[in-house]
């Protein structure tokens, strides 16, 4: 039920990227892992609390990390 739980996290009011003034980077795997499920799928905005702009940059970062083999496309 991990998936269910991850959706039940208290919703962050502020986007993490806005708060910490950082940008999503494909090299920062530990950070990116916070925004994907165990299956390797990206979490929706309603679960991450990110603003639209940063969710987009995050999506690009995750996709780049997948391309170079740092993150899985599908993990079982």
């Amino acid at each position: 039920m991990t998936r269910f739980n991850s959706f039940r996290k208290p919703i962050r009011k502020v986007c993490l990227f806005c708060k910490d003034k950082i940008l999503a980077d494909y090299k920062d795997i530990d950070l990116l892992r916070k925004f994907i499920t165990e299956q390797g799928k990206m979490l929706p905005r309603r679960a991450t609390g990110n603003c639209a702009r940063h969710q987009r940059t995050l999506a690009i970062a995750v996709k780049r990390a997948r391309e170079i083999g740092l993150l899985p496309y599908v993990a079982k």
Binding site: L23, D25, K27, D28, R64, I68, G69, L71, Y73
Partner: protein, 103 residues
């Protein structure tokens, strides 16, 4: 001139000497085109998230460089042909007001 970043995933069976010669080859391409390398970061061996060309791990190297955009096509062609490079990722670095955390 533009600022780029390239990440190379290299065959993990390579000796240190071969790795250096490979990196020198890439660097030479950049410096020959009057580019400059601003940062070099060897991550070392890392497990791949999934198998690429039957490899389960790779040596990761990140290079930051400034180079004229005309040379990029040639650089990509050489890297694609290079068999020791399992996979590469070339990204254009925009001038960012907010600096990324170094990892």
């Amino acid at each position: 001139m533009r600022s780029y970043e390239i990440m190379l995933a290299i065959n993990p069976q390579l000796e240190d000497k071969e790795l250096d010669s490979l990196l020198d080859k890439v660097k030479k391409l950049i410096t020959d085109a009057k580019g400059e390398i601003t940062k070099k970061n060897k991550w070392g061996k890392r497990k791949l998230a999934y198998e690429i060309k039957d490899f389960t791990e790779a040596i990761y190297v990140v290079l930051n460089f400034n180079v004229d955009e005309k040379i990029i096509a040639e650089l990509e062609r050489v890297i694609k042909l290079e068999e020791r490079v399992i996979r590469y990722l070339l990204t254009l670095q925009e001038k960012l007001k907010i600096q990324n955390k170094d990892s």
